[in-house]
Structure formats: structure tokens, C-alpha cells
């Protein structure tokens, strides 16, 4: 009798196990088929709603204690640190001058190419409060959610480089999929060779760059940036460096990437909530279209123009010879008497006079010419250089 009961109990236990497994397999099948989490959002919200407030509380308490300690108690190295920071500011100011020059040049080039720039115009700083606790799911939870304007598919970055993207957003929390998860993907580009590829996570937790042909030359140490092709990450953000290159499958290289951001020890991140896309500064809709030949003419050395023809101003001879006429360039503001000066290139971004953009001797106006110096009446004009070296005022009269 005991044997019968024991056998019945074992059968019953097996039936329960099978039923539990079957229910979960069916649930998995539904979730895989349906893109909207297969109706599991409620369970996720409950779980996250129960667990993240505790982890958030621990993190914020720890931060508060650390702040109090560093702000009021532990001030031993503050003086030395202050000196170091001042030195750093001086160095950064010097770097800034160089970068401004580079940025101006890049802006002019973008203007010529009709580029649209992407600007990060909105970010939300967030703190990492939790992980998924699984080696098979490389994602983190941050303490900002839909209440703070965070939405799915927003890029998440750290000061060193990109981190991942928002996968799910809850009212006060968001799940961020890291770039080293096998299900993640980002469009990237090699900085020097300009080869494009896809950044993906590997099962062992490393990151790899895919879709680069085996006949391309890629060396370790080369920097990798976002390409903007995935429509998630803005173009030009640091991703990491090439750690190792080896032949991969199907004629592609296997490029192992060392991420710029330390994904294992993230504490604070930035969620990019708004990206504006518009033409570079100084580009207005009412500017005349420019031909490629004009741009080339501005950059290539040319034969010196013939001697200026004496003519009466206003007859059209100046325009024909490509020389500026004081009357033609006179803006709404006060015009100072024409002086003989070197031609000045005008900054397209703000109308401010800057140094010439082309190397010496490569303009089509190598000799000094007469030019009117203009002083704007109220607003700075949006004068732009034209291929003939004269200024063209676009300020309304």
C-alpha cells in the first residue's frame, strides 16, 4: 500500500513539474512572438518597483555619507588639488583656442558640403542603482525614468565614451542595455581609416567590431567613434580603441574593441534626451547656392589678375573685374572710407572678421585690393566670403 501511495505521489510530482515547465515554455513562446514583452510588463514593473527603491536608497545613502565626509571632514589634499586644477584650467584654455580653430574650420567645411550637424541639446544625468545580476544579461538600471523625460532607445554615455541605450523606461527607473551585451548593436567608424562597422557584444562579455572586410588594414590602438548610422548614437562620440585584430569568418576581420567607458564600474551616466539636427551656424536658407567649381577656385592657386582698369564707380566695371566696389558693399551701417588693405575672410558663423581660411598664396586675390571696411549699424551682418574674395552682406536693408 505504501508503495502505491509513493508511486502515486511521484507521478503527481512529475505531472506538476511538467505543467510548470509547459506553462513557462508557452509563456516564452508568446513573448518571443510578440514584440511588446508578451504581456509581461506588469511582472517586470512589480519586480523593479520592489527591488530598485531599496538599491536606490542604499546608493543615495552611501553618496550622502561620502559627500558629507569629503565636504566637511576629509579636506587634507584640497589645497594641492586646487593648484593642480588651476594648472589644468590653463592647459585646457590653451587647448580650447586650438579646438576653436579646428571647429571653425570644420564648420566651414561642413558648410561647403551642405552637412547637417547633430547637436546634443538635452541630457539627463543619472546614477547607476542596480544591475540585472546575470552574466547573460549585461544591462544596468539607472535612477531616471519616464518622469524625467527618459524614453526607450535614447543613447546613454559616460564622460569616456558611449555606454549603451535605454531599453525599457519605467516611471522612476530605466533599463540600459550595455554595448557589450550580445543583443546590442551600434554603428561605429574607425577614426583614421574611416571604415564603418557594427559594434556588438560577445558572449564572453567583450565587444567586437563586425563587418570590416579582411583585406582592410586595421591596427591595434586605433580609435573607434560612433558613425551615427544607427540613428541612436550621435556621430563622433568615442566608443573605444582596437584591442586586437584577427581573421574572422566569411572574409571579415574579427576586431576586438576595448570600450572607452569602463562598463564594469559605472556609477554615473548621461542620458541624451534631445539631439538637434540642423545646418552649421551661419548657414541660412536664403543664401545663394554655391557651385563646386567656385569652391575649388577659392582654394586653388590662380594666375594673378590683370592690372585694374580705371573706371568710374557704379558702371559695372568693378563687378566684371571681380573687384569690390565700396557702394556695392555698403551695408545699412556706417561705411568708413575705402582703404587699401589685405583681403579679409569673414567668419561665416557670426560675421566677425577672422584670419583667412585658405593658405597664403592660394587665393585668387594675392595682391592688396581696395576694400570697404564696414561697421554694422545695430546688428552684426551675416557677411560671407564669396569665391572672388569680396564680402557679400546678407543683412536686410
Amino acid at each position: 500500500m505504501e508503495n502505491v501511495i509513493s508511486r502515486f505521489r511521484n507521478t503527481l510530482n512529475l505531472i506538476v513539474l511538467m505543467a510548470v515547465l509547459l506553462a513557462q515554455v508557452l509563456g516564452l513562446a508568446i513573448q518571443v512572438k510578440r514584440p511588446d514583452d508578451g504581456g509581461t510588463r506588469l511582472i517586470r514593473v512589480w519586480t523593479i518597483g520592489l527591488i530598485t527603491p531599496i538599491t536606490r536608497g542604499i546608493i543615495h545613502t552611501e553618496d550622502w555619507i561620502a559627500d558629507e565626509w569629503h565636504s566637511y571632514v576629509w579636506l587634507r589634499n584640497v589645497r594641492k588639488e586646487n593648484e593642480e586644477l588651476k594648472d589644468q584650467i590653463v592647459q585646457m584654455k590653451m587647448d580650447q583656442v586650438r579646438l576653436i580653430e579646428d571647429a571653425n574650420q570644420a564648420r566651414r567645411l561642413q558648410l561647403l558640403l551642405g552637412f547637417k550637424e547633430q547637436y546634443i541639446s538635452g541630457t539627463v544625468p543619472a546614477q547607476v542603482i542596480s544591475t540585472t545580476g546575470s552574466e547573460f544579461s549585461r544591462a544596468i538600471y539607472i535612477d531616471k525614468g519616464t518622469n524625467d523625460g527618459v524614453k526607450p532607445d535614447m543613447p546613454v554615455v559616460a564622460p569616456e565614451g558611449i555606454v549603451g541605450k535605454v531599453l525599457r523606461a519605467f516611471p522612476t527607473t530605466s533599463l540600459v542595455l550595455l554595448i557589450n551585451d550580445p543583443t546590442s548593436g551600434a554603428g561605429v567608424i574607425l577614426e583614421k581609416s574611416r571604415l564603418q562597422g557594427i559594434l556588438k557584444g560577445a558572449p564572453n562579455g567583450s565587444t567586437v567590431m563586425q563587418n570590416v572586410m579582411a583585406d582592410e588594414k586595421v591596427g591595434p590602438g586605433e580609435r573607434i567613434l560612433t558613425s551615427g548610422g544607427d540613428r541612436i548614437f550621435p556621430k563622433g562620440l568615442p566608443v573605444g580603441t582596437v584591442a586586437a585584430v584577427s581573421p574572422g569568418q566569411d572574409l571579415f576581420l574579427n576586431i576586438r574593441v576595448r570600450p572607452a567607458a569602463t562598463l564594469n564600474t559605472l556609477e554615473e551616466v548621461l542620458v541624451i534626451t534631445k539631439i538637434d539636427e540642423h545646418a552649421p551656424d551661419g548657414v541660412t536658407g536664403n543664401e545663394p547656392s554655391r557651385r563646386a567649381i567656385d569652391i575649388l577656385a577659392q582654394r586653388l592657386p590662380t594666375v594673378a589678375p590683370p592690372a585694374p582698369i580705371e573706371s568710374v564707380p557704379g558702371t559695372g566695371a568693378e563687378a566684371a573685374s571681380g573687384k569690390p566696389s565700396p557702394e556695392l558693399t555698403k551695408p545699412a551701417g556706417t561705411a568708413i572710407a575705402p582703404t587699401t588693405t589685405k583681403p579679409k575672410a569673414t567668419d561665416v558663423s557670426g560675421g566677425a572678421t577672422t584670419k583667412p581660411t585658405t593658405p597664403a598664396g592660394t587665393t585668387d586675390k594675392p595682391k592688396p585690393v581696395k576694400q570697404a571696411e564696414v561697421v554694422p549699424a545695430s546688428k552684426p551682418s551675416t557677411a560671407t566670403p564669396n569665391p572672388t574674395g569680396t564680402t557679400k552682406d546678407t543683412q536686410p536693408q
Binding site: 515547465l21 513557462q24 513573448q31 518571443v32 523593479i48 544591475t131 547573460f136 543583443t183 558572449p203
Partner: protein, 171 residues
């Protein structure tokens, strides 16, 4: 402590208070989610699995072990970005197997706990990868070095955790 007679052997079946039954798995989930923020290597541990094994072995009820594993696994799934049920299925099987094993052999001493957890961890990982690859289509690979290392680490941790949890067993 309830004593039941099975196959001429006296097997101890333990019970736990509702607070411990709910609180310990919950605490395990919180720790599993939080500790890797500060100590990344903690991702190698699977506290919810250890708790599943402990309850299953102590209760020695296959239905209870299976359901405990399923519930803990589903909540663990809910923290990840993957579909619910991958951890659930793996832990249901482990809960069932651990309670079956607990009814047959002595799993009270540290040596047997070490070996048992080592074996169950490997089975759990294998099940997880099979389910994730077969049913969800995830790109996961079995890495022997990592799995053996993690299994050993979890087995050592289990000896400590089980010793602590033994104090919550109701006499």
C-alpha cells in the same frame, strides 16, 4: 521539525516561517542586483539559485522545490532584458532535482553541500543556455573555464550561505 518515514529511513523535513520564505529569496534578488554595482565579480554568483537549492533540500518536497524555483527564476528573469521563463525553467528543474536528492542522501554536511551545489550549478547553466538558445534564439556559448570557475565559487559560497540559513529552520 517533522519526521517522516520513507524506505525505513528517518528523513528530517524542515519548515520555514512565511517571513523567511518570502524575505530570503527577496533579499537574495536584491543582493544579486545590487552587489555587482560595487563588486563586478559578484555577477559570477547566483544567490537566487543557492536559495532555491537550500529551500528545496530542506523541505524535501518536489512540488514545493519546483514551484519555489519557478517563482524565484521568473522574478530573476524580470530583472533582465530577456523574456520571462529562461531562469524560471532552469530553476524549476533544479528545485525539483534538489528536493529529490535531499530525500535520498544526506545533504547536511559541508562536503556534500559543496559537491551538490557544484553539480547543480553546472546543470543550471547548461539548462539556461539550452533554453536560451533553443527557445529564445539568444547567442550564448558554453565556456568550460568560466562555468567550472563559477561553479566552484558558488559551491564555496553555498557552504557559508547554507550555514547561515540553517538558523532559520524551524524545529
Amino acid at each position: 521539525m517533522t519526521i517522516v518515514q520513507a524506505k525505513q529511513e528517518r528523513i528530517e523535513v524542515y519548515r520555514f516561517s512565511p517571513g523567511v520564505t518570502i524575505g530570503v529569496p527577496f533579499l537574495a534578488l536584491v543582493m544579486q542586483a545590487f552587489i555587482p554595482v560595487k563588486l563586478h565579480f559578484f555577477n559570477a554568483f547566483d544567490l537566487p539559485l543557492l536559495v532555491t537549492i537550500f529551500f528545496a533540500v530542506a523541505r524535501r518536497s518536489q512540488v514545493s522545490g519546483c514551484l519555489t524555483g519557478a517563482i524565484i527564476g521568473i522574478f530573476q528573469d524580470a530583472l533582465t532584458h530577456q523574456p520571462l521563463g529562461v531562469y524560471g525553467i532552469s530553476k524549476s528543474v533544479i528545485g525539483y532535482a534538489a528536493s529529490s536528492l535531499g530525500a535520498k542522501i544526506d545533504v547536511e554536511n559541508p562536503g556534500s553541500r559543496l559537491l551538490m551545489t557544484f553539480g547543480f550549478f553546472l546543470i543550471h547553466e547548461a539548462l539556461y543556455i539550452i533554453v536560451a538558445r533553443g527557445l529564445v534564439g539568444m547567442n550564448l556559448t558554453w565556456l568550460w573555464g568560466r562555468e567550472i570557475r563559477d561553479a566552484f565559487a558558488n559551491a564555496v559560497l553555498a557552504v557559508v550561505v547554507f550555514a547561515v540559513l540553517d538558523k532559520f529552520k524551524q524545529q
